[in-house]
C-alpha cells in the first residue's frame, strides 16, 4: 500500500513538472489529438514535448513491458497514473490504433521479432496503424471477408478492397484480415497480415461522413506483395487474433465518451438553459440529464470493475461487448442531451463562434459509436450467446 502511495506522490510530482499547461485540458476531439506517425505534423510544441516526455517514461503505453517501449507498470499503478492524469486534466499524449488494438494483439500473438520491430514504434508514436477489417460485403458478418492473399513462395500477394478504413490515408501501416483458404469454413481460412501502406498496389479513396469530416477511406489492394514474415500467428488462424483485437477495440470505444468528459452535463445545461428557483428551467430535461449522469457515473465504475475483475481473473472474455454496447449507447444519449440543452445555438455548422460547429459535428460523429467496432446489435448477440448461453436460432 505504501509503495503505491509513494508511486502516486512521485507520479503527481512528475506530471506537475512535465505536463505542459496546454496539454492540461481535454482534447477537443479527433482533430485535436496527437496520433503520431511518419506523416504527423505536431499542432504545437507542447504536443510534441508532452509526447516525447511521456514516451521516454514508457507512459504512452504504461502497462506494456519496458523492453517494448512500455512503462512496465502494474494494474494498480496504471490505475493511479490515470487517476492522477485525470486529476490534473492531463490529456493522453498519444492515441492510436497501434496502442488500442494492434499492440495488445501483438503482445499476445506476435513473434518476438514482430514485437521488437513494431511495438516500440507504436509506443513512441513513430508509426501510425490502420485497421483493415470491414469490406463492402462484410460488415457485421466480418468472417465472410473476401480480400485474398495468395502464397507466392517467400511472400503473399494481396488483392481486394477494404472499406470504412479509418485514417487509411494518414496511416503508415495496416493490420489486415485476408482470406488464405477459400475452401475452408469461413472462420478457418482467415489470416492476420501486417504491411506498409506505401507498398506498391495500395491506394485509398476518402469517404465523407455526415459530420462533414473525412476520417475514413475505401482501401484497395492490387497485387500487393507482403513478406511472409509479416504473418501474425499461424496461417488460417487469424480469426482468433482478430477477435482478441476486437475486444480491445471495444473496450476503447466503450470508454471513449466517458474519458473525454471534463464537466458535468448539468452545469453545461444550466448555462445554456438557465435556472429557475435554483433548478434547471426545463424540468423534463433536468430529469433526463440527472438520469444520464447517474448512468454515466455507474458506467465509469463498471469500467473500473471490469479492470479489477480482469486482474482477479474473474472477467468474462466477452465483457468488452458489454462495455462497448453500454458505453456507446450512453455516449449517444449524452450527445442528444447536449444538443437539447444547446437549442438552436448548437445547430451552427460553420463560423468561428462555434469553432465550425464542433458540437453539432461531434453529435453526428457520435452516431458511429454504436456501429464502428461491431454494432450494438452484434454486441447484444455476443452477450446473449457467449455470456448468457442463449441458444442459436
Amino acid at each position: 500500500m505504501s509503495d503505491l502511495e509513494t508511486f502516486r506522490r512521485e507520479t503527481r510530482a512528475w506530471l506537475e513538472s512535465n505536463c505542459p499547461p496546454e496539454m492540461r485540458r481535454a482534447s477537443q476531439g479527433e482533430s485535436d489529438t496527437c496520433w503520431g506517425g511518419r506523416k504527423w505534423k505536431f499542432q504545437s510544441d507542447a504536443q510534441r514535448i508532452w509526447l516525447e516526455r511521456m514516451a521516454e517514461k514508457g507512459w504512452t503505453v504504461p502497462d506494456w513491458p519496458r523492453e517494448y517501449g512500455g512503462g512496465g507498470l502494474s494494474h494498480d499503478e496504471v490505475k493511479i497514473l490515470r487517476q492522477e492524469m485525470r486529476a490534473l486534466g492531463c490529456r493522453s499524449p498519444l492515441d492510436s490504433f497501434g496502442i488500442w488494438m494492434l499492440g495488445p494483439a501483438l503482445l499476445k500473438y506476435g513473434s518476438d521479432a514482430q514485437k521488437r520491430e513494431h511495438l516500440p514504434k507504436i509506443a513512441r508514436g513513430e508509426i501510425r496503424w490502420c485497421q483493415g477489417y470491414s469490406e463492402p460485403g462484410s460488415g457485421s458478418d466480418l468472417a465472410s471477408l473476401q480480400t485474398r492473399a495468395v502464397d507466392h513462395g517467400d511472400h503473399y500477394v494481396v488483392n481486394g478492397s477494404k472499406i470504412w478504413t479509418s485514417y487509411a490515408d494518414k496511416a503508415d501501416w495496416i493490420f489486415c484480415l485476408v482470406r488464405t483458404d477459400p475452401d475452408a469454413p469461413k472462420h478457418e481460412g482467415i489470416s492476420f497480415l501486417l504491411f506498409d501502406m506505401e507498398s506498391q498496389g495500395v491506394s485509398t479513396k476518402p469517404i465523407t461522413l455526415i459530420s462533414g469530416a473525412s476520417p475514413f477511406c475505401q482501401t484497395f489492394f492490387d497485387d500487393v506483395l507482403v513478406p511472409k514474415a509479416n504473418l501474425v500467428g499461424e496461417l488460417n488462424k487469424g480469426w482468433t487474433i482478430a477477435k482478441y483485437l476486437l475486444t480491445h477495440e471495444r473496450d476503447m470505444i466503450g470508454g471513449m465518451g466517458q474519458t473525454s468528459e471534463s464537466r458535468s452535463l448539468g452545469q453545461t445545461a444550466a448555462e445554456s438553459v438557465g435556472l429557475e428557483n435554483g433548478i434547471l428551467a426545463d424540468t423534463v430535461l433536468r430529469g433526463q440529464i440527472a438520469a444520464y449522469e447517474i448512468d454515466a457515473w455507474a458506467f465509469r465504475l463498471m469500467m473500473e470493475r471490469a479492470g479489477d475483475m480482469a486482474k482477479a481473473g474473474q472477467a468474462h472474455p466477452a465483457i468488452s461487448s458489454l462495455l462497448k454496447y453500454y458505453g456507446t449507447e450512453l455516449n449517444k444519449r449524452r450527445m442528444e442531451l447536449v444538443m437539447s440543452a444547446g437549442g438552436t445555438d448548437a445547430l451552427e455548422w460553420e463560423g468561428a463562434r462555434t469553432r465550425d460547429g464542433s458540437q453539432v459535428r461531434a453529435w453526428l460523429r457520435s452516431k458511429a459509436n454504436s456501429i464502428e467496432g461491431g454494432t450494438s446489435e452484434v454486441q447484444l448477440n455476443i452477450v446473449a450467446k457467449r455470456i448468457l448461453g442463449l441458444p442459436d436460432a
Binding site: G266, A298, K385, L388, A393
Partner: protein, 379 residues
C-alpha cells in the same frame, strides 16, 4: 479499493447463501404469508442468523459484534434478495445498529448493541410520515416537558414496527417541516408502553407498520445523538439503509433474471426454444448489462460508506437510483418473458416484482435520488 469481493467476503456470501437456501427458500415466505403469521418473520431463523453473527455484522467488536462494514452487510442483503426471506436484518442489523453505534452515547451502546448481536432485540427506525420519502419534512413533534419530551404524530412504513422492541423515532424538536435543523432522534420502547402500532400488510408480504404517537412521554435520556442536530446521524442511517436496500434489489433482480434466462432455455414455442428469438435475446442481453453496471455502482457505494461514511451520500444516491431502475426492469422483463405463467401466484417470478416495488420506494425512489443529485450538481 478493488471492485471485486475478497475471499473473506466470498465466504460470508457462501455461508449466508447456504443458510438461506436451507432455512428460508421462497417457500418460507409463502408459508408466512399464507398462514398470516402474526410476526411475519421466523424468530428461530433470526436465532440462526445470530449463531452466524449476522445481526452484529456492523456492530463494533467491543460490543460483541463482527465489526465489519457495509460491503459485508450488503452481501447479506443481497442473499436475502435472492430468496425474498423476511427478516429483521435491515431494520435491526443495518438501520438500528448503525444509528446506535454511531450515536456517540456509551450507555446506549452498552444497553442495546449486545442484545442486537445476540438476536434478542428487534429494533427499527421510524422516519417516513408520508407515502413518498421526504425525510426533511418530518413533522412528528417532540415537545419538552419536565425532564423529557412528549411525542405527537404518526409514522408510516416502519419496518418490523409491529413487533420491534425498540423504535428509533425521528421527531421535530425545532424548526418547521422542510428544514433539516431541528430534528432529533429518540429511542422509544415498542410494545405496550410504546406508540400504537398497526401492522400494515404490504404487497410483498414483508413487515411494516404505522405508528401513532399520542402524547407519548419519553425521558431526556431517550435522545440519541444531539437535540435539534439529529439530521447528520439520520442521513447517515438512511444512507446505510439505501445502500442495503440497493443490495437487496440487486439480489432480487439477479435471481429473477437467472430464472428468466433459464426459462428462455426451456420453454418451446413455434417448434423452438423461445431463447432462440433474437427479440428476447437482445432484451435479456440489455438487462444483463444494466444489472452488471448497477452491481459496480452498489459495490462502490458500500465501499464509500466504509471508507468515508459522512461523505458517501451522493454515491449512495447514485447506487440506489440505479438499483431501483435496473431491478424494476429485471422484474418487468421477468414476468413478460414468462408469459401467462408469470402472472400466476403459484409461480415465484411475481414475488420478485412485488418485493422490488417496495424496495424501490423505501428510503427514496430513483426519482428522489436523481433529484437530489441534480441539486447537489447545482442544476
Amino acid at each position: 479499493m478493488s471492485l471485486v469481493l475478497t475471499s473473506e467476503q466470498t465466504m460470508l456470501r457462501d455461508s449466508t447463501r447456504s443458510l438461506l437456501v436451507k432455512s428460508a427458500p421462497i417457500s418460507h415466505l409463502r408459508r408466512l404469508r399464507d398462514e398470516r403469521d402474526p410476526v411475519g418473520f421466523s424468530r428461530p431463523l433470526w436465532k440462526e442468523f445470530a449463531a452466524l453473527g449476522l445481526p452484529g455484522i456492523l456492530v463494533p467488536q467491543q460490543y460483541g459484534g463482527m465489526g465489519l462494514g457495509h460491503v459485508e452487510a450488503g452481501i447479506v442483503m443481497e442473499e436475502l434478495g435472492h430468496t425474498l426471506a423476511p427478516s429483521p436484518f435491515l431494520s435491526t442489523a443495518v438501520l438500528a445498529a448503525t444509528a446506535i453505534a454511531r450515536g456517540e452515547n456509551e450507555a446506549q451502546k452498552q444497553e442495546y448493541l449486545e442484545r442486537i448481536v445476540a438476536g434478542d432485540l428487534i429494533a427499527t427506525v421510524a422516519i417516513d410520515e408520508t407515502g413518498k420519502h421526504r425525510p426533511e419534512k418530518i413533522a412528528l413533534s417532540a415537545a419538552r416537558s419536565e425532564n423529557g419530551f412528549v411525542l405527537n404524530g404518526a409514522k408510516t412504513m416502519v419496518l418490523d414496527g409491529h413487533v420491534a422492541d425498540l423504535l428509533i423515532v425521528a421527531a421535530r424538536t425545532a424548526g418547521t417541516p422542510g428544514e433539516i435543523r431541528g430534528i432529533t432522534l429518540f429511542l422509544v420502547n415498542g410494545g405496550s408502553g410504546g406508540p400504537r402500532a398497526e401492522r400494515t400488510v404490504m404487497v410483498d408480504s414483508h413487515n411494516a407498520a404505522r405508528l401513532t404517537f399520542d402524547n407519548l412521554k419519553v425521558p431526556g435520556s431517550a435522545v440519541l445523538g444531539t437535540v435539534d442536530g439529529g439530521w447528520t446521524l439520520l442521513d447517515g442511517v438512511l444512507n446505510a439503509g439505501r445502500a442495503a436496500t440497493a443490495a437487496e434489489m440487486a439480489g432480487a433482480s439477479e435471481e429473477a433474471f437467472a430464472r428468466t434466462v433459464a426459462y428462455l432455455k426451456e420453454r418451446r414455442q413455434f417448434g423452438r426454444l423461445i431463447g432462440e428469438f433474437q427479440a428476447l435475446q437482445h432484451r435479456a442481453a440489455h438487462l444483463y448489462c444494466e444489472l452488471e453496471v448497477t452491481r459496480a455502482a452498489i459495490l462502490k457505494a458500500q465501499q464509500a460508506l466504509d471508507e468515508s461514511f459522512d461523505k458517501a451520500g451522493p454515491i449512495v444516491a447514485m447506487a440506489k437510483a440505479r438499483a431501483g431502475k435496473s431491478a424494476t426492469l429485471a422484474v418487468q422483463e421477468g414476468v413478460q418473458m414468462h408469459g401467462g405463467i408469470g402472472m400466476t401466484d403459484e409461480f415465484d417470478i411475481g414475488l420478485f416484482m412485488k418485493r422490488v416495488r417496495v424496495m424501490q420506494e423505501l428510503f427514496g425512489d430513483s426519482n428522489f435520488h436523481a433529484d437530489r443529485l441534480a441539486r447537489l450538481g447545482h442544476y
